[in-house]
């Protein structure tokens, strides 16, 4: 059975975690002491925050860690109801299997509303004897001070090229992937310190079964930007507004993408468009304005159309 490599090779223990030595050493001390304070992991995506939280729980509770560990994602359950209802419910029940406390892992905590964060303060204090929190977030500044002050804060660094390379090489050996050296380098470069992206890229590039070359790498990372979005942009730049709008409808219907999803993909596709940098800058500024209008307005398609019309103009200047 072929597995998803990001899960198959996710480190199980703190020792296996790549990079972040300054973090893992301190975390190991907690595990050794069988005790910990509330923790906060900050840092960019794909640097090991979730993996470390899982590893701490495994180390702390052994084989039965699942009973004393719960994983929540704030960006999916972000409201105050979650804090008032579910978190409290879990926090106040006693730990299982003779453990001293339970761990609540709150991933992407910067997505919690301020109300929800405020509601958490009491819960953290009231149940701190039997329940510890691990928060993870990209930006500590989005977490209110009262919560920050209750946590030991750990800053995760973007992974170094060497770390990512070494980890990919381990997978390459285990999975017998044939890959050229510069292709591996390319993968590491494209990943920009995000291990998940690197491993996903490697698996997709390897899935053709042929030797992975630098070309395959760029092709696959290009494909991760759905072709349809690119085609829509090019149709608009080519001056065909109605055609581009039909493509937009197709994307919204076939892929079910929301306006904001599309904006995000449009934005990341700009970097590879063949227009001048100063045109890109104007486009990006316009795109930001359009995203703001999607948030403010009532009909996201009309807002995206304004962007498409603008692209028709940009393309027209060039023609």
């Amino acid at each position: 059975m072929n597995e998803i490599w990001t899960e198959k090779y996710r480190p199980k223990t703190l020792d296996e975690v790549v990079g972040q030595k300054h973090v893992t050493e301190r975390l190991k001390a907690y595990v050794a002491a069988r005790n910990m304070s509330h923790l906060m992991f900050t840092g960019p995506a794909g640097t090991g925050k979730t993996t470390c939280a899982l590893a701490v729980a495994r180390g702390m509770f052994g084989d039965n860690w699942r009973g004393n560990f719960i994983e929540l994602n704030a960006s999916d359950e972000r409201g105050i109801d979650v804090v008032r209802g579910k978190i409290k419910e879990f926090a106040r029940t006693a730990p299982l299997e003779g453990a001293e406390f339970k761990i609540i892992f709150m991933d992407e905590a910067d997505a919690l509303t301020n109300d929800a964060q405020a509601a958490l303060r009491r819960t953290m204090e009231k149940y701190s004897r039997i329940c510890r929190f691990i928060f993870s977030c990209n930006y500590a500044s989005k977490i209110i001070d009262p919560i920050q002050s209750r946590c030991a804060v750990f800053r995760f660094q973007p992974l170094s090229k060497e770390d990512v390379t070494a980890f990919l090489q381990k997978i390459v050996a285990a999975e017998h992937v044939k890959i050229e050296d510069d292709a591996l380098e390319g993968l590491v470069h494209v990943a920009r310190g995000d291990m998940r992206r690197a491993v996903n890229g490697l698996q997709v590039a390897a899935s053709t079964g042929e030797t992975v070359t630098l070309d395959t790498v760029y092709q696959t990372t290009g494909m991760a930007n759905p072709e349809a979005v690119r085609a829509m942009l090019e149709t608009a730049l080519g001056g065909d507004f109605v055609g581009a709008r039909n493509k937009l409808d197709e994307i919204m219907i076939t892929f079910g993408l929301s306006g904001q999803d599309i904006i995000r993909q449009v934005h990341s596709a700009y970097y590879s468009l063949s227009i001048t940098d100063s045109e890109k800058v104007r486009l990006m500024d316009k795109t930001g304005e359009i995203e703001f209008r999607i948030v403010e307005g009532s009909n996201e398609r009309i807002q995206l159309e304004a962007l498409l019309a603008y692209l028709v103009m940009v393309g027209g200047n060039k023609r």
Partner: protein, 500 residues
């Protein structure tokens, strides 16, 4: 309390159905073919816009044939189990027919199963419904009728619907036909309606017979005659005319004052006007500069509409109207002219389709997010594109996703852009099941098999077990867990992270 007129004058027999003689005849022939054993196509698919007699025809058919009827519509919860239950009820239980006659299924008394509004399956609430419907189409022992407005919403998901049903399209009756029906009803109710008023009401309804009857009833309420002047008061359904006038004032006559007046006096809300302008402006403003300005004005108008709905402050409507009339007309700097026919906005119907897709995609991403320890947002943006490529290229990845992320056929089908009953999807589930059996080996392989088979249908059990099944690399354990867990209420399925 008496029935409203649409109930009171609903035809009881297929002979009373107006405007669709061909459809009625085909239905009749199909029904009679059941007398000589199960026909090739066990299901009818009635397709057509609202209010033109699809449900009425199905009920009339059952009555004409002396069959009982088991009905299910969008107000019922339509999970896979509920549909199985309905089908079971149709084939097992005995009931009394419409005329009070005792009908015994076992003795040959048939029952017509009617799945009304079958295109409106609501994401999570109706999960598992699609596989159950597919199975029903193939295996039902009783005649089955599916009724839809939007055929595409069903066939997109399932090839069985397309291949296994006899499709019958219902057409909108003409205004003359509608007027004829209205005339008969008016006579029966002893209401005098002038011929002009009849035509006006019929034309207004645009082929929706049910709407026309409602309109007639509301106009005749407490009166003995209806004049054409009274019929003029019918405004709710004339918006289409207003909108054509608005398009003309904006794009042909460039008369902002008139356009503004039409908007002001129309019953149409600015959101609808916005959709009409949006549909038509690219065909009208052909010059690039005009196009960009037009799009910009609409975009600004839309922001005001967003603020109206967010703050419930309707004062902003005025500015939206200004931008849509004065703003849109001012957008044209060139003297390019268009002679195209104005188009009816398609956005609403398109978006209705996308809603179902969004629901499915959301459910898929949530499953993957829990399995991969991340958020649905990250799955959508960072993982899904990769995973799609992987799953398309490598069937074994599909099996991993079935076994570990517990994807249902509909979700896997969405991921690899295939229908849920396509050969690829079916094979993946067959293989996954076989591997599970091989891995389990003992004890009680029979029991395992049953669970593996039903698992995709019973989303509640599967989803409830997901968090617990996260790290388990071998399949038997999640299955055992699924056995132990009582099924959680279907509604909260996806949020059951706390079912520890």
């Amino acid at each position: 309390m008496t029935d409203d007129w649409t109930e009171k004058y609903r035809p009881r027999s297929l002979n009373g159905i107006v405007g669709n003689p061909g459809a009625a005849a085909t239905m009749k022939a199909w029904a009679e073919s059941w007398n000589s054993g199960t026909p090739d196509k066990r299901a009818l698919l009635l397709v057509g816009s609202p209010g033109i007699g699809k449900t009425t025809s199905a009920e009339a058919l059952a009555r004409d044939m002396g069959w009982g009827i088991v009905e299910m519509n969008a107000s019922d919860q339509r999970t896979g189990n509920a549909i199985h239950a309905v089908a079971g009820r149709a084939s097992l239980a005995n009931t009394f027919g419409d005329d009070g006659q005792y009908l015994q299924a076992s003795a040959g008394g048939r029952k017509l199963i009617v799945l009304d509004e079958a295109d409106n399956l609501f994401g999570n609430a109706d999960r598992g419904a699609m596989p159950a419907i597919n199975e029903l189409i193939r295996t039902t022992k009783q005649p089955l009728v599916l009724i839809v407005n939007d055929e595409y919403a069903l066939t997109r998901k399932s090839a069985a619907v397309k291949g296994g049903t006899l499709r019958i399209a219902f057409r909108r009756p003409t205004s003359a036909t509608v007027a004829g029906v209205l005339k008969k009803i008016a006579a029966a109710e002893h209401v005098t309606v002038s011929p002009e008023a009849l035509i006006k009401i019929a034309a207004n309804a645009g082929g929706d017979l049910r709407a026309a009857v409602h309109d007639l009833e509301s106009l005749a309420l407490g009166k003995t005659d209806v004049t054409v002047n009274a019929a003029d008061q019918l405004s709710a359904r004339v918006e289409r005319n207003d909108m054509y006038d608005l398009m003309g004032a904006v794009f042909r006559h460039s008369d902002p004052a008139a356009a503004r007046r039409i908007l002001q006096n129309s019953d149409t809300d600015p959101g609808t006007a916005e959709l009409w302008l949006d549909e038509n402006f690219p065909y009208e403003l052909r010059n690039t500069g005009d196009l960009v300005r037009g799009a910009e004005r609409l975009s600004r108008a839309d922001i005001y509409l967003g603020r109206v709905s967010r703050r419930q402050y309707f004062g902003f409507w005025g500015y939206a109207n200004d931008l849509m009339t004065y703003g849109m007309i001012d957008a044209r700097h060139s003297d390019s002219k268009s002679f195209e026919r104005f188009r009816f906005p398609m956005y609403m119907s398109k978006m209705a389709r996308s809603r179902a897709v969004r629901g499915l995609r959301g459910a898929l991403c949530l499953k993957l997010a829990v399995w991969m320890h991340t958020s649905t947002k990250r799955v959508q943006n960072d993982v899904l594109p990769y995973l799609r490529l992987l799953a398309v290229r490598d069937p074994e990845i599909q099996i991993t996703l079935i076994r570990e992320a517990r994807l249902e056929p509909e979700e896997l089908g969405f991921l690899i852009d295939q229908k849920m009953d396509s050969r690829t999807v079916k094979n993946a589930y067959k293989t996954a099941e076989a591997e599970t059996e091989a891995a389990v080996r003992q004890p009680a392989p029979k029991k395992k098999r049953r669970i593996a088979k039903t698992a995709p249908l019973e989303s509640d059990t599967v989803a409830a077990v997901m968090p617990a099944a996260l790290p388990v690399p071998s399949a038997p354990e999640p299955l055992q867990a699924a056995e132990k867990k009582p099924s959680a209420p279907a509604k909260k399925v996806q949020k059951n992270l706390f079912d520890y």
